[in-house]
């Protein structure tokens, strides 16, 4: 799973918001900020606030979208390198002009929406080693050429060239998988592409996590962009040497912010819009509807505008004054402002992204034998029982978040959401935590320090490697409010509860995201130096792909297995999700993880979006914003 969400800028926007809803199946939910259903029939469960009303579309007008400085588009060429990928807006910016092979989400459900994709549903054959991808025939480029099979082959050839040059050139690259797993790609007809894989992959994995991914596969104009200099000869991109030259040329231009608006290459688009101007000073931009856009609906307004703001507050102020129409996702601390915004005539709604936040355990931290303690399932369960997520959602997120208990959240739903995501295996219950510890030989002293009194690995004993008198005590690292506005508060609430109810001492330590991520990370180069400095790292979380496997996160040796979690059962489940054939493998994996508590799962916060009431559109087009996707062709100015 290579879509990894918690970038710095992203993290800030992602952490903590809250949503309304959701809860366990069959049980009633809390509905926070009023009822959403009245306005929109498609209002999903767990929505905070209310979506903009559909209204009646008029033609013409300008719709502006907000960006935060530091989160403005860095690349327009849709093969995105690692260093640019952390700015998530690059992708939706690219997709305004270039339609991806597969794109989503489908309304509130996190899956591919074929209506906004070039590709149709693929078929798998030959023991899942041959993939046949039929393409929609209605898309065409601004130069009049249709978007066909060659354009997809062109893109994948360029990706291969890019990865060969440097794996960091393609942010969705995963060692051993895409694009290394493609042995052959060919256009079998004008609108059909066949991909041969080197090993069998789970079809859901290949479709949802490789073809549809953070940096997606985007068919590119193979007849126009196959050049290595301005006005240069058109090259045969199937020749890897040419592909490299083309890639180098396009990549250089594609990251040259100064020429975004002026470079004619980028005007050859198949998406709903064409970039018109790009102001390098503050990265604001304008785009006009692409007359050649083959999808539907076609934009009814005459200009899409990207405006940059230095802060979320500034963005909201602009929104209030009418200078901005649609905000970028805001963090949950803005939830209390929903009422003032609504009073000003704006719509405010919030919904979580697909992904999870977790405070990871450091299974290598030998300070106070924490590694031995945390290796015990009962200890992890006890900690999970101490999380009062309902209270966090209410008091800290102000309703703009949803409780979460595993790597797949309860909201938003995917076709693969397990029941454990909705029915928490370890709901808040401090007395159960006390009982668990007592029954494993701990002297529980609420408000003071709980210590191990019965060492040993037998039943009723603390467990292997925990000597008598060991205190249950560890360092909990969290990110400052400037980077993750509510992270300190949940950390503080947890620490308070742990001490007061169970006598577990949580020593809080604030570190910037970059520092924590670079150093308090057993999988990082510098990790060994700091291995005993931290017990828990509440650094953020990960976004899930539509097939939400935790491959590379919790499996042994995973690139992002920051706490060095090791569990053979899980490793097998992950393997099934990636290489197996089962359509429910990932559900089993997620369900297992929810019970195994490899990390403390934290509430899945909402992304708050504020929209000027003059803007209308179908609910799905607004919900997509909470998944960091723009579908601007659906919007319009209401009459």
């Amino acid at each position: 799973m290579d879509r990894w969400g918690a970038a710095n800028g992203l993290m800030r926007a992602r952490r903590r918001l809250l949503g309304a809803a959701v809860v366990a199946a069959g049980v009633a939910l809390l509905s926070l900020a009023g009822s959403a259903g009245a306005q929109s029939s498609s209002s999903p469960p767990g929505l905070f606030g209310s979506l903009p009303t559909a209204g009646t579309a008029s033609t013409g007008g300008t719709i502006s979208v907000g960006f935060l400085t530091g989160s403005t588009p860095l690349t327009i060429f849709p093969i995105t390198a690692d260093t640019d990928a952390s700015v998530y807006t690059s992708f939706s910016f690219q997709y305004d002009f270039f339609v991806p092979l597969y794109n989503g989400p489908e309304g509130a459900t996190q899956e591919i929406d074929y209506a906004v994709s070039v590709g149709k549903k693929p078929t798998f054959s030959d023991n899942n080693q041959t993939v046949t991808i039929p393409l929609n025939t209605n898309y065409k480029w601004s130069n009049g050429q249709p978007v066909d099979a060659n354009d997809l082959v062109f893109d994948i050839d360029l990706i291969k060239a890019a990865v060969k040059e440097n794996p960091a050139n393609f942010s969705s690259y995963t060692p051993g998988l895409f694009p290394a797993d493609i042995t052959r790609i060919s256009a079998t007809s004008k609108y059909t592409v066949v991909i041969h894989l080197s090993k069998p992959l789970n079809p859901n994995f290949f479709l949802n996590d490789e073809l549809e991914s953070e940096a997606a596969i985007v068919p590119l104009p193979s007849t126009a962009w196959n050049v290595d200099s301005a006005g240069g000869a058109h090259l045969d991109y199937t020749n890897p040497a040419n592909a490299k030259k083309i890639y180098d040329y396009l990549n250089k231009l594609g990251t040259s912010v100064a020429t975004f608006g002026s470079n004619p290459l980028w005007k050859i688009a198949d998406g709903p819009f064409v970039l018109k101007t790009f102001n390098t000073t503050n990265s604001s931009w304008t785009a006009t509807p692409n007359p050649d856009f083959g999808g539907s609906p076609k934009p009814a307004y005459s200009e899409l505008e990207g405006l940059t703001f230095t802060s979320q507050t500034a963005m909201l102020n602009a929104l209030k004054s009418g200078a901005l129409d649609i905000s970028s996702p805001l963090d949950p601390t803005y939830a209390p402002q929903a009422s003032t915004l609504r009073a000003a005539g704006d719509s405010v709604y919030a919904y979580p992204d697909l992904g999870f936040f977790d405070a990871i355990f450091n299974f290598k931290d030998t300070t106070n034998h924490f590694n031995s303690i945390i290796s015990q399932l009962y200890a992890r369960q006890a900690l999970a029982y101490l999380e009062d997520q309902a209270a966090y959602v209410k008091g800290i997120y102000k309703g703009a978040a949803v409780a979460a208990y595993g790597p797949v959240p309860s909201v938003p739903r995917t076709p693969f959401t397990p029941s454990d995501a909705i029915n928490p295996p370890y709901p808040y219950n401090p007395s159960k935590a006390v009982a668990l510890l007592k029954s494993h030989g701990w002297n529980v002293v609420p408000g003071a320090q709980t210590t191990c009194t019965k060492p040993g690995s037998g039943a009723g004993e603390c467990g292997a490697g925990i000597p008598k008198g060991t205190p249950f005590k560890f360092v909990w690292v969290y990110i400052p409010a400037s980077e993750a506005p509510v992270a300190p508060l949940t950390s503080e609430a947890f620490a308070s509860e742990a001490k007061a109810a169970v006598g577990i001492n949580v020593v809080l330590s604030q570190k910037t995201f970059n520092f924590a991520f670079a150093n308090y990370n057993d999988a990082a180069p510098a990790g060994a130096k700091y291995v005993n400095d931290w017990g828990v790292n509440d650094f953020g979380g990960f976004t899930d792909d539509y097939w939400p496997t935790t491959n590379s996160i919790f499996n042994t040796g995973g690139t992002y297995n920051q706490g060095a979690y090791h569990d053979a059962t899980l490793d097998q489940l992950v393997h099934n999700s990636v290489f197996g054939n089962s359509a429910s493998a990932v559900t089993a994996e997620a369900s297992y993880l929810a019970k195994a508590v490899p990390a403390l799962f934290m509430p899945n916060n909402d992304l708050i979006i504020a929209v000027n009431n003059k803007v209308g559109g179908p609910a799905a087009s607004f919900l997509a914003l909470t998944a960091y996707q723009d579908l601007p062709q659906y919007w319009y100015i209401k009459k």
Partner: protein
């Protein structure tokens, strides 16, 4: 004079090099990883090693510092991966706006502080003096963000006198100049940082000058009080202000960080603030280095200006 300037410039260069070294060491010491910052969520052992090798971060620290300084001398401050541009280009873009904001704030502060300080000195221990002193101390004691917040709340959000932030229509320096209404609050906030200390300083400097016999002699010549103040007091009392202005540069730079992020004004301070959140090393280094150089040259210019304005000082 030329010799003096040359020597001072050499000293300035040495100080600037020292600043570069100190800052580089300091950043290195904080244990952040440029690779992690640049790669973001794509940071792992493989990508980091590759990145470090590509960008020279695997070399010994001393070599890195020397390289950095060498490049900086050639105005190459590295490349910001967070911003996707060379640092020099970023600085170049934002410098004008920050210069305008700081310059306007400085000028405003001086325009208020100098007459106010003189007036306070002339009417010392009057009610007006006490009030001005009280206001000066209050401003001086107020964190800039708190002042900015109050200004936004009352003047922008409640009374709608000024916009609460600098809008998208102000992107170039020239636009900043031509939109005084939008720039009012940021400039006032930044000016408030310095106006308090300036006016206090001006007051005591004017008090010193007032006690001099040449003021008495000017009055004995039969000059009007206004002429005494403008012809004889102003210039002499202002001389120490030149040095103070030079010394206020680091404070202004720090004030920019707060003010620009508060008012959505895309300048160097904001660039720095974002860079700090991201540990965007090249920008942090460059900003601080340039801040150091500005401070040093500011002091240098102030010294020369004092020498020009004060015939008593001979630079040799």
């Amino acid at each position: 004079m030329t010799g003096y300037i040359v020597r001072r410039c050499i000293a300035a260069v040495i100080i600037a090099l020292g600043v570069a070294a100190v800052v580089y060491l300091l950043l290195n010491f904080t244990g952040g990883s440029p690779a992690a910052a640049a790669l973001g969520n794509h940071y792992n052992k493989i990508t980091a090693a590759l990145w470090n090798k590509q960008h020279g971060y695997d070399k010994p620290l001393v070599v890195q510092i020397v390289d950095y300084v060498w490049n900086a001398i050639h105005l190459n401050f590295g490349y910001s991966y967070k911003q996707g541009q060379s640092v020099a280009a970023l600085l170049n873009e934002d410098a004008g706006r920050t210069a305008y904001l700081s310059g306007a704030a400085l000028v405003l502060a001086l325009l208020i502080a100098m007459p106010l300080g003189i007036a306070q000195a002339v009417k010392r221990n009057s009610i007006g003096d006490y009030v001005a002193t009280g206001v000066a101390f209050t401003l001086y004691s107020m964190p800039a963000f708190f002042l900015g917040l109050i200004l936004i709340q009352f003047l922008a959000l409640d009374l709608h006198v000024f916009p609460a932030f600098v809008g998208d229509n102000v992107t170039t320096t020239w636009q900043a100049v031509t939109h005084p209404l939008e720039m009012a609050l940021p400039i006032v906030t930044l000016a408030a940082l310095t106006v308090a200390s300036f006016s206090r300083y001006m007051r005591s400097s004017a008090l010193d000058a007032l006690a001099q016999d040449y003021i008495r002699l000017a009055r004995a010549k039969g000059l009007r009080e206004r002429a005494v103040l403008t012809r004889h007091l102003l210039r002499n009392a202002s001389l120490p202000m030149i040095t103070l202005v030079g010394l206020s540069i680091p404070g202004l730079l720090a004030g920019n960080i707060i003010t620009e992020s508060l008012f959505n004004y895309p300048g160097l301070g904001l660039l720095f603030y974002d860079a700090l959140q991201n540990l965007d090393y090249p920008i942090l280094l460059a900003y601080t280095l340039i801040g150091g150089i500005l401070t040093v040259t500011g002091n240098l210019i102030a010294d020369i200006a004092v020498a020009v304005a004060d015939p008593r000082i001979r630079l040799d």
